[in-house]
């Protein structure tokens, strides 16, 4: 049987009903929508390819593949936990936007053609912008506009690429490409904008931390990981992705080390983690692609967990800067424990989800004999512990005692944190079920004595470096300049100068025109005004004289001829 209802639309359409409901029914629907979507994701048979004719093109918006299903599954789980986390605390607009956003992301994972992919892609941009708007503050509003501009720009590039691709190949099918012609390079660039690749990486740390506590939990999961999915399907083995990924990995670490805002630290850490996945997609072997997919799956869970923990702190203290926080483990023990579990998982500590997923990627670099890539990825793995694994829990829950004693957050928020903590450890202890969901068969054994020992050493000595160098990492009330300086400051100055200069020029031109007009009128008045020479009544005596002169002239000429 062919199935042609995209499962993501359940969330998108269901979200529209949320504003009209209240109380228990509202809560039930928030929980049920992701569950029903997940059920449909699994109910649609593999290789379902419903084809819909649209104008001259064949669309297949319900194209079920193992990779797509893996991403759709984690997106449903994320929407479920995020919905519970957000329940009761946020405006209904945020939930509607978040579910439209999540549903569109699930839509992308089922697209077999580039046109329906583009439609869901743009729906995601709108949904995520609305999530930011829902926060309601002036700074969130401004950030959402910068965010939307970047994503509309990325969308334009993607659309241009798709149109060229369809025009040259005659096919709308979304399948593996190589970036060797303008069409596919544009498509790649469009995907990379959403992945947070250079030079536009700054949008993640600029926009996401302006969202509400639950808003950023949603935002962290979908846009960048949908981009990872699109790269995984569209550009496996594109060598340039290795270098782009490595850049992102170290960009994330360095900027996170400089950062003072706890949720911006975690935002930079998203770029770092997506960098690992992009690098693995560039390596492109089955092991590497499995690694990227598994890492994306695990990453969504532990990054959401970290942001739930940070969001709880933000909600209970109203503070977001490391310089204002510290010592919170004393009164928020559950938030601290869950934050630490998320931090251990992102650092790939043994027995957590990061350990069994990220190691697939480094193993892929090793098996391909990529010496430099492997050494850099291992250094970056130590760096993850440094910038996110220790820095976040240390500065928020420990360091100095800030004297604040807020309680743990409400029950629904604690519940979703514990749920995700459970998943981080469960996947770490029993990676089998996740491995079976991966696009290719897995013959990898993460738990060897050597791997355990080296990973412990790497992380413990990275931690040692953190505490030895702690004086160098004293928090300051600063932000760090990034590429967004060009559109937030440089272009602003250029635009302001342009306005001043053009308004000066306009004034000058107007003045000149006024002067000319005034001079013209004055001259006209002099000659034609009441006393003007041309307006005078001429005396008749003068007339007689002129007639006499003319007569004399005529007589003279006739006499001469």
């Amino acid at each position: 049987m062919e199935f042609n209802f995209p499962p993501g639309l359940i969330l998108v359409l269901g979200a529209m009903a949320l504003p009209f409901l209240k109380g228990k029914i509202l809560q039930a629907l928030i929980v049920l929508l992701p569950v029903v979507t997940l059920a449909l994701v699994w109910w649609i048979p593999n290789d379902n390819t419903a084809v819909i004719s649209f104008l001259d093109y064949q669309l297949s918006p319900v194209n079920s593949t193992p990779t797509g299903r893996l991403f759709a599954t984690i997106f449903c789980i994320m929407a479920f936990a995020g919905g519970i986390y957000a329940m009761g605390q946020v405006k209904i607009l945020e939930l509607v936007a978040a579910y439209v956003y999540a549903g569109s992301a699930i839509g992308v994972t089922f697209c077999g053609d580039l046109i329906s992919l583009f439609i869901f892609w743009e729906m995601m941009a709108i949904g995520s912008t609305m999530v930011l708007w829902a926060e309601g503050s002036q700074s969130a509003y401004r950030a959402s506009f910068r965010y939307l501009i970047i994503h509309l720009l990325g969308g334009m590039v993607l659309m241009a690429g798709i149109i060229l691709h369809v025009h040259t190949t005659g096919s709308t099918e979304f399948s593996a490409m190589q970036p060797d012609n303008i069409a596919s390079i544009l498509v790649l660039a469009g995907f990379l904008v959403n992945a947070g690749a250079p030079p536009l990486s700054a949008w993640i740390a600029d926009a996401y931390p302006e969202a509400s506590p639950s808003g950023m939990v949603f935002l962290s999961a979908f846009t960048t990981k949908t981009a990872v999915y699109a790269l995984l399907v569209g550009f496996p083995g594109a060598t340039i992705l290795i270098y782009i990924g490595l850049y992102m990995v170290f960009y994330g670490i360095i900027y996170a080390l400089l950062e003072n805002d706890m949720r911006r630290i975690l935002a930079y850490s998203i770029v770092n983690q997506v960098g690992f996945m992009v690098c693995a997609i560039g390596i492109g072997t089955e092991l590497a692609l499995n690694g990227a997919a598994a890492h994306a799956f695990a990453h969504i869970i532990y990054k959401a967990l970290l942001l739930m923990s940070a969001g709880s702190v933000l909600m209970m203290t109203g503070k977001r800067k490391c310089t204002d926080l510290g010592g919170l483990f004393q009164s928020m023990p559950q938030t601290a424990i869950n934050g630490i579990i998320g931090a251990l998982a992102i650092s790939a500590f043994p027995f957590t989800s990061g350990f069994v997923t990220k190691s697939l990627e480094t193993a892929a670099a090793a098996s391909q004999g990529m010496v430099l890539v492997w050494f850099l990825l291992i250094a970056a793995s130590a760096g993850v512990f440094l910038h996110a694994g220790i820095k976040f829990p240390w500065f928020v829950f420990f360091q100095k005692d800030s004297g604040q004693r807020p309680p743990d957050p409400p029950r629904n928020m604690r519940f979703s944190m514990w749920g995700f903590s459970f998943l981080c450890i469960a996947i770490g202890l029993f990676p089998g079920p996740l491995y079976r969901l991966l696009p290719y068969p897995v013959e990898y054994q993460p738990y060897t004595a050597s791997h355990l020992v080296t990973q412990f050493q790497l992380l413990l000595f990275a931690g040692f470096a953190f505490f030895v160098m702690l004086p160098l990492m004293k928090r300051t009330l600063t932000i760090s300049l990034d590429f967004d300086w060009f559109y937030r400051r440089f272009l602003y100055i250029v635009a302001r100068e342009f306005t001043i200069k053009t308004s000066d020029a306009r004034t000058r031109i107007e003045d000149t025109i006024h002067q000319h007009a005034a001079r013209f009128i004055k001259r006209l008045y002099r000659h034609h005004g009441p006393h003007g020479i041309l307006a005078r009544t001429w005396p008749s005596g003068g007339m007689v004289l002129w007639v006499a002169i003319m007569l004399a002239g005529i007589l003279l000429t006739s006499a001469l001829l």
Partner: protein, 88 residues
């Protein structure tokens, strides 16, 4: 100023040396298996054996982190601005 005894154990001035001792003790334990375990080099065919040498990940992890902190510190000189920089 709060009395040292009223603070949480972690924040007492007497606890700090103990915490360092615990940390160094854990690091030593992490190095113990190096006496029994042999790691397989990943790039033997390219003549690179350093990744299987004794305690490689320990010093490599420490030094790469130190390098990243120093790099961030140096870049920070040029990149850091007051956090009200973009506010109008």
């Amino acid at each position: 100023m709060i009395n040292d005894q009223d603070k949480h154990w972690l924040y007492r001035s007497t606890s700090l040396p103990k915490l360092w001792v615990i940390q160094v003790f854990i690091l030593v334990i992490a190095l113990v298996p190096e006496f029994f375990l042999h790691h397989h080099p990943n790039f033997q065919d390219q003549g690179i054996l350093i990744d299987a040498s004794v305690g490689f990940t320990a010093w490599y992890g420490f030094l790469s982190c130190a390098a990243m902190v120093v790099t961030a510190k140096i870049l920070g000189i040029f990149l850091k601005r007051k956090d009200s920089y973009y506010d109008e």
